[in-house]
């Protein structure tokens, strides 16, 4: 049902109906933003990615083929954008690592601290986030899609441009890579 509606809206947008495109934006902005935020870990970067993704979608609506889900096509754009952005932000990442243990996080993360937050859970979460960010983009994207955003394998295969079996294999490899990184951090207190 949703897919049909997406297709109708895409057709209208192709015909010059900008309101139809805005409806598509309203429908899928959270999905795109969530994925972009997980990939970039920064709110402002994620918003930039959202903007660029929808601009590219608008520019390339004529290339969208109706047999794929619109969200799948959109997330593929986001994946490519995040990969490009990760390459460009290498220098900035190095600069951030020099900052005193995330002293400037409040400027960009947008997270509101809970006054009674659990220190141990927070430490683990932070360690996991750092380990995830340290993964190569092809591992990071499949972990986010599967284990954070909980997308199904056929959907992932369409986004990643591979077979379902290939998507499963990628997930297994990415999990193993993440475990190797997180083990010294989470396993040290065992």
């Amino acid at each position: 049902m949703e897919m049909d509606t997406d297709i109708v809206l895409v057709k209208k947008a192709r015909d010059g109906d900008y309101r139809a495109f805005e409806q598509l934006f309203d429908r899928h902005r959270n999905l795109v933003y969530r994925f972009a935020y997980q990939m970039t870990s920064r709110r402002d970067d994620a918003e930039d990615v959202v903007q660029e993704a929808f601009v590219r979608a608008y520019q390339n609506l004529h290339r969208y083929r109706d047999e794929a889900k619109f969200t799948t096509w959109l997330l593929r754009i986001v994946t490519n954008l995040c990969t490009d952005q990760a390459r460009m932000s290498q220098r900035r990442l190095a600069l951030e690592q020099q900052e005193a243990a995330g002293a400037l996080d409040w400027m960009t993360s947008g997270e509101v601290e809970d006054p009674v937050f659990n220190l141990e859970a927070d430490r683990r979460k932070l360690a996991l986030r750092k380990a995830l960010n340290a993964l190569p983009m092809h591992h990071k994207s499949v972990i986010i899609l599967r284990d954070i955003e909980e997308r199904e394998y056929p959907d992932m295969a369409a986004i990643l441009g591979c077979t379902v079996g290939g998507a499963k294999l990628r997930v297994l490899r990415a999990r193993r890579a993440l475990k190797e990184r997180i083990a010294p951090l989470l396993g040290e207190d065992r």
Partner: protein
């Protein structure tokens, strides 16, 4: 631990195995501390990743998207260059730059062939090689150089067949001539500057930077008169000192 078994542990922890497969793996894990540790780690990882799903609210608006589309989105997407010969522009540009550089250097060298003002090729060195053709001005008016220092009633006479030139003392602004002759006017036998008359004493001695042959003496280093800015108390004219030779006198130095 084998890779496949570890993958099964991960799938078990993330709930991706069928109940039969899960039961089988759990039996294998039982009594294997390393496998149990790995399974526990994967379960922690799963829970931790789920907790990362919380994201802060975005502040993105339709207006921002509209602005972005108006500024970027309406532009047609530039087609990527598909030609396999796109690399050709680099060697082409290098060739063009090389030829341009050669042309400019050549032009610069030609411009250096313009007439050089040489006083005495035998006695004065201007730092050019002797093989280089030297063009010499056939006539230089000393008023151009010495005018401010010469008394008004000085008469000068050209020599070596040049027309005599008199400076009218009543003339307020005597014409100053400094000419570089054309190729036709160049006398290859002369080779040096023609003389201008001696100033102060009206003698036959040549003025500074005079060429030797112009004095009709034939010597390669004729006498030279150095005119000082100080005036003589008796005559009111500039002081002039005659030196024996113009050798080793650097003009313009």
């Amino acid at each position: 631990m084998k890779g496949k078994f570890e993958d099964k542990l991960a799938q078990l922890a993330f709930g991706e195995l069928t109940p039969e497969e899960a039961a089988k793996i759990e039996r294998e894990v039982h009594g294997d501390p390393e496998a149990l540790r790995a399974l526990s780690l994967y379960k922690d990882m799963k829970e931790g990743l789920r907790s990362l799903s919380e994201v802060p609210e975005d502040q993105f608006s339709k207006e921002r998207l509209r602005d972005a589309i108006l500024t970027q989105g309406l532009r047609p997407v530039a087609p990527r260059p598909t030609s396999s010969r796109s690399w050709l522009w680099m060697p082409t540009a290098a060739c063009v730059m090389g030829f341009s550089l050669m042309f400019v250097m050549n032009m610069t060298r030609k411009s250096h062939g313009a007439p050089h003002l040489v006083i005495d090729e035998g006695s004065i060195s201007l730092g050019i090689s002797s093989k280089e053709p030297i063009r010499v001005a056939s006539r230089v008016d000393t008023n151009a150089i010495y005018g401010p220092f010469l008394p008004a009633n000085v008469r000068k006479a050209d020599t070596a067949g040049e027309s005599a030139k008199a400076v009218d003392p009543n003339e307020e602004n005597p014409r100053i001539l400094t000419s570089i002759p054309s190729d036709d006017a160049y006398d290859p036998d002369l080779g040096t500057l023609p003389a201008t008359g001696s100033a102060a004493a009206g003698s036959a001695s040549t003025v500074a930077f005079k060429g030797s042959t112009t004095a009709a003496s034939g010597s390669t280093s004729g006498p030279i008169v150095l005119i000082d800015q100080d005036t003589d108390e008796q005559t009111g004219a500039c002081k002039a000192t005659e030196v024996g030779s113009s050798s080793n006198v650097l003009v313009g130095g």
